[in-house]
């Protein structure tokens, strides 16, 4: 049986103004300005953990005109980037 990986954004405070996103990392004290897609994803992940499939579905809603491979590639980059920053953990 394969175990499903869930992703969760930790230790961040999100702030949103229309398509304008800022997050604050409570551990490092860093402030980041995000694009709308990353902002939506990370803020959703700060509220609840999500599986890769759920994240893809959310991404699909945000970028309905993108192809499946474009979405896959974006999500891969997103997870890598935010894991590297320590803002995203997999459980």
């Amino acid at each position: 049986m394969t175990q499903q990986t869930n992703y969760k954004a930790t230790r961040i405070r999100c702030k949103q103004w229309q398509d304008d996103y800022v997050i604050y990392d409570q551990l490092s004290g860093d402030t980041h300005v995000l694009d709308v897609v990353s902002g939506e994803l990370i803020c959703a992940l700060s509220k609840q953990a999500m599986s890769r499939a759920k994240l893809l579905a959310l991404l699909n809603d945000l970028c309905f005109d993108a192809t499946e491979s474009e979405l896959e590639s974006y999500l891969l980059g997103f997870i890598e980037k935010f894991e590297l920053l320590g803002l995203l953990i997999s459980e």
Partner: protein, 306 residues
């Protein structure tokens, strides 16, 4: 029973002031209580000219900053006299030439507030108010914020500060600390020419910042030292010779990031700093402002405040 009348520094004659300051002059600066001890005569003149409206404190008042300015008692005082600034007996700066005593007092007091008043998020920004709206003007030295601030104040805007915006982390309001406006180099003549009635303290040459002069704050602004204001505009000014007057809307995220870079204690306050600053950005319209013509700048600011 009625309260006794409030005395201010102007109620003391210059000789009374000189006599008092040797033992300790206790007075209000915005919401802060300062005790200044100094034998330096130039400092007496500085206070007499520029701090007349500041309230004197009653004897039992709690003092936030115990400040002392004095000359080192080394032999050097005979050849090249200097002045030291102390807070609670500690000298945070190297001594400066004696003639810069008044400038050192102002810079030292800035340092006292910026390093200790962490009940506020402190932004390196001028802040002025008109029609109940505070305009915050953050900027690095040379951005033209103090010149713009002085010109606005001379047009009747209320001065809250020319140097630091005190954003309360408790209620999100801007608290005033109306003190003399520090102008540098050409800005001194620009303001003197525009407002010949304006009162300056001693003009000090050859400081680390060039020529420095302090402009007396309006009496009413000093008297409103306990009254906070509601922030309405966050405007990043940039003076550039020959530049067109241009006001550009700035996104909230960019405004927050820039303002964070202009704060003295954003990192120190952590999440509280982020929450306070994002609250400020949320309630303000945010702009970038380029100018070279003060008249055009004043018209634009007046329109924005109407």
């Amino acid at each position: 029973m009625s309260n006794p009348p409030v005395s201010n520094i102007a109620s003391l004659s210059k000789s009374q002031l000189q006599h008092t300051i040797i033992k300790g002059l206790d007075f209000k600066v915005g919401r802060f209580n300062v005790r200044l001890v100094s034998p330096i005569v130039e400092l007496v003149t500085h206070l007499h000219h520029l701090y007349g409206a500041n309230e004197l404190l009653v004897k039992e008042a709690f003092i936030d900053f115990h400040v002392q300015l004095s000359s080192p008692s080394t032999l050097r005082r005979y050849f090249r006299p200097q002045v030291n600034f102390f807070l609670d007996g500690y000298a945070p700066f190297k001594p400066l030439p004696y003639v810069q005593a008044s400038a050192l007092f102002e810079w030292g007091l800035n340092w006292c507030i910026a390093s200790h008043a962490n009940q506020y998020l402190i932004i390196h920004a001028a802040v002025v108010e008109r029609n109940g709206q505070a305009f915050i003007l953050p900027g690095k030295p040379g951005s033209g914020k103090s010149t713009l601030c002085a010109a606005l104040v001379n047009q009747g805007w209320r001065l809250l500060s020319d140097e630091m915006t005190l954003l309360s982390t408790h209620d999100g309001q801007i608290y005033p600390v109306a003190r003399p406006i520090s102008l540098k180099n050409q800005s001194i003549d620009v303001i003197k020419k525009r407002s010949p009635q304006s009162v300056f303290g001693q003009i000090v040459n050859d400081t680390v910042k060039g020529t420095v002069g302090h402009l007396r704050p309006p009496e009413l602004s000093v008297k409103l030292g306990e009254c906070p204001a509601f922030a309405a505009k966050l405007i990043f000014p940039k003076y550039k010779q020959g530049a067109e007057t241009e006001l550009t809307t700035l996104s909230k995220s960019k405004a927050l990031l820039r303002a964070a870079g202009d704060c003295f204690n954003y990192n120190l306050l952590g999440l509280q700093g982020f929450d306070s600053l994002s609250g400020l950005v949320e309630q303000c319209a945010c702009y970038e402002f380029h100018y070279s013509n003060l008249d055009e700048a004043l018209i634009l600011f007046t329109e924005l405040s109407n």
